[in-house]
Amino acid sequence: MLRIWRGDASGGELKDYVVPAEEGQVVLDAVHRAQAGQANDLAVRWNCKAGKCGSCSAEVNGRPRLMCMTRLSIFPPGQPVTVTPLRTFPVIKDLVTDVSFNYEKARGVPAFTPMASQPEPPFTMFQSDVERSQEFRKCIECWLCQDTCHVVRDHEENKPSFAGPRFFIRYAELDMHPNDSIDRKKMLQESQGLGFCNITKCCTEVCPEQIKITDNGIIPMKERVVDVKFDPLLRLLRRRRRQSP
């Protein structure tokens, strides 16, 4: 049995749907069956049904998941599976939420800008140097990490000054790009809210791409920010630069 949240911005409730079980089914299959047979207007966002596009994000028994990659067989038999919309974002209808917060944050990221030494492709870059950024470019933008992050999950007030884990690894990706020339560290610390993160690793746990968001992205960025801020040599250099006419 499936228990799906139905409603809109004004409120809603859980409704039960009985759908036949079939070997190998995922949660999205069951939702689709309910939609086709019992609730034609049940709103659900999905595209590839292959874990590649990151559209069908929802909370299944309270945990942020991709519905297309969640097998029904992982849940105890005989008990209902509860599907609710992402809690961090405003509900539009049923399982669909308004995720425009993320697209606004994306607009704020200064684009990749090649170094003067290698301004135009073909770039010479080695596999060992691109690999770190490649891990972050696996991100399918499902927003599960944004949804689970406690800095914004129940704190609407933090949203304007917090980009969230997805964008921390976007900044990390650009910072670690072997041929990028822009320093975004100050911005990341001062206006994107890197400091809010107290590395509880919730984001890493829900990532369907198994990106080590905290260990490989956020922590190194926190270290790099600190290095720039407190490095005595750099501080001396900065002071001299300020003093020079």
Partner: protein, 613 residues
């Protein structure tokens, strides 16, 4: 329809419909050319079907094989397409693909590298040299992100989760587009002298498909209704390797890279059966014994393994093996890389395949073979366009990517799709912008009456009438019809049967009925999509009935041979117009069919095609 509903109205120079690779690249090009540009996508940005492309982008960079160049790529593409490609498109594609790939790198894409620090390239079916720029097996994601991030940084206006239901015209010319916001169901009118269709494919009309719900052939149907012509719609590619088990993921793509990286096909008696299916056309360039085939991966002086024949050949062979009773327990055959490469190699080169089988089928592909079978994947046919500008036969209407026809002939080579998107996306965007500018103040106007009709027809499913039809049921019946009667192997009787059934479904589609309201209502959306799916399915079946030969992605049981007469002809379809012509509605349609001579390549290009290695 509330008469007092006022429509949100936007004016642009260029409106791009679809935000996969072609749409994004077209919007960037139109913006760069100075046009006021809108990019419309029916999903969220970055979720389009391009994201599912796995293997790579074909471009003769020559990074691994300096012998590679545009001429060889041109030749491979034409031969893979059974020489039915528009030669000029294949030429432009082969020449421009390398620059378009480097452009992605300029915008932040990070491809896998060679030891020398260049973009690495991988082997794929039908390509003489390792030619596909890639990132593991998630190249489509890399491409869409690079383009998406570029478009966002340029500040291009993006309309997310907005579906266009009709094109608008002023006389012969396109004047804009009409659509609805998914979120609210409210209507939007775009006034624009130039519209670029970049809507992708049609696979959602088949039951076993690798395509997402978005691939409903909207652009093909919009073009037909706007008076444009469709080319060679009979050519539908069934990818040889889709998952077959569990049923819930039947059709899900298994990348050709598995074979490019060493995987082989076996039947239930453990035979590498592809050696039994080497066609005459490819005999000279295909290895006929296991030893030579296995040497080829490291030494390209050997001939290619038959597993890497073009997709149409491999899909037909698998189909024959299954029909002959040599299939796997769940109705596929075996794709084996476990016995041929190390677990580390497999996990590094094919991470998402490893993940996909592990999560969805409990199969560890580093230890056991995969069960696979053909799945509807791509349509080679599409809107007839000018090869240089991508303009259709309707002034102001452009098409790029999968929705456009001609480039891939009778069969597309793997990797040529992503390169097609960026080469012709750019061209379509540039030419659309130039056309809009050339018009000056002589811009076509949107007619209020057409807008009112479009709105009325879009809302028809909410008016409950007699003999109500459920859109989900109708969709399923269409999928069964196309799967059973217009699949890999076709025959006259079945195609006629299919056309009759489609006509009945079209009549029934006039009575589609949906519950609920206009706010984010998938039942309503499907009811509207079905009109397009039905029209496009009719187009495929009509063209398939017309072409009396077997070639590429079109196999006729009653005409099993390739016929030189048909090798010189395109099958061209046009909608016999109703009034008002442009607007979508239910009910049967009439299509006219024409045999149109194929343009022959100039001698210097024709010469390249003779080279059979």
């Amino acid at each position: 329809m509330p008469a007092d509903e006022t429509y949100e109205h936007h004016e642009y120079d260029v409106v791009v419909i679809g935000a996969g690779g072609a749409g994004l690249r077209a919007a960037i090009a139109a913006h760069d050319a100075g046009a006021k540009t809108a990019l419309i996508c029916r999903s969220l940005l970055g979720k389009a079907h391009t994201v599912m492309a796995e293997g790579g982008i074909a471009a003769a960079l020559g990074n691994l094989w300096p012998e590679d160049n545009w001429q060889v790529h041109f030749r491979d593409t034409m031969r893979g397409g059974k020489l039915l490609n528009h030669w000029r498109m294949a030429e432009l594609h082969a020449k421009e693909a390398p620059d378009r790939v480097y452009e992605l790198e300029q915008w932040g894409a990070l491809f896998d590298r060679t030891p020398a620090g260049k973009i690495s390239q991988r082997d794929f079916g039908g390509h003489r040299y390792a030619r596909l720029a890639h990132v593991g097996d998630r190249t489509g994601l890399e491409m869409i992100r690079a383009l998406q991030q570029r478009a966002v940084s340029l500040g291009i206006d993006v309309f997310m989760e907005l579906t266009v239901t009709d094109l608008l015209k002023d006389g012969d010319r396109v004047s804009g587009a009409f659509g609805y916001w998914r979120e609210s169901g409210r209507f939007v009118v775009f006034g624009a002298p130039a519209v670029v269709l970049a809507t992708g494919g049609i696979g959602k009309s088949w039951k076993v498909t690798s395509n997402s719900w978005e691939c409903t052939g909207d652009g093909h149907a919009l073009a037909l209704r706007a008076g444009a012509t469709l080319l060679n719609m009979e050519f539908v590619q069934f990818h040889p390797t889709g998952m077959v088990w569990p049923l819930s993921v039947r059709g899900l793509l298994v990348t050709e890279s598995v074979r490019g990286d060493g995987g082989v096909l076996r039947n239930s008696v453990d035979r590498r059966f592809m050696f039994d299916y080497i066609p005459e056309f490819f005999k000279a360039e295909t290895a006929d014994n296991i030893e030579e085939a296995d040497r080829w991966y490291d030494d390209k002086t050997n001939r290619r393994p038959p597993e890497l024949l073009p997709r149409d050949e491999v899909a037909r062979a698998i189909n024959s093996e299954i029909k002959a009773g040599r299939g796997s327990p769940h109705g596929g055959v075996y794709l084996d890389i476990a016995s041929r490469r190390s677990p580390e190699f497999i996990r590094r080169r094919l991470p998402s395949m490893y993940h996909q089988f592990k999560e969805l089928a409990d199969v560890d592909i580093t230890r056991e073979p995969m069960e696979i079978g053909p799945t509807c994947h791509y349509v080679m046919g599409g809107v007839e366009v000018d090869p240089d500008s991508q303009v259709s036969t309707v002034p102001g209407l452009f098409a790029a990517g999968e929705v456009a026809g001609g480039m891939h002939g009778a069969n597309r080579l793997g990797g040529n799709s992503l390169s097609d998107l960026i080469v012709f996306g750019k061209r379509a965007g540039e030419h659309a912008a130039a056309y809009a500018e050339m018009l000056g103040t002589n811009r076509p106007q949107v007619a209020a009456a057409d807008v009112a009709t479009a709105a009325e027809q879009a809302l028809a499913p909410f008016k409950a009438g007699q003999a109500e039809e459920n859109p989900y049921t109708l969709h399923q019946e269409l999928q069964d019809t196309m799967q059973d009667l217009v699949g890999i192997i076709r025959v006259e009787g079945e195609l006629k049967d299919a056309l009759e059934r489609i006509s009945v479904l079209q009549s029934r589609s006039e009575h589609l009925s949906v519950e609920g309201n206009r706010q984010y209502n998938p039942g309503w959306h499907l009811a509207l999509d079905l009109r397009n799916m039905l029209l496009v399915s009719q187009a495929v079946a009509t063209a398939a009935l017309e072409r009396q030969e077997s070639r590429g992605g079109h196999t006729r049981d009653d005409y099993p041979m390739t016929d030189p007469y048909w090798g010189g002809l395109n099958v061209v379809l046009q909608l016999k117009q109703r009034e008002p012509p442009v607007v979508a509605r239910g009910g049967p349609h009439q299509l006219s069919v024409r045999r149109q001579p194929l343009q022959q390549p100039p001698p210097e290009l024709a010469e390249l095609l003779e080279d059979v290695h």
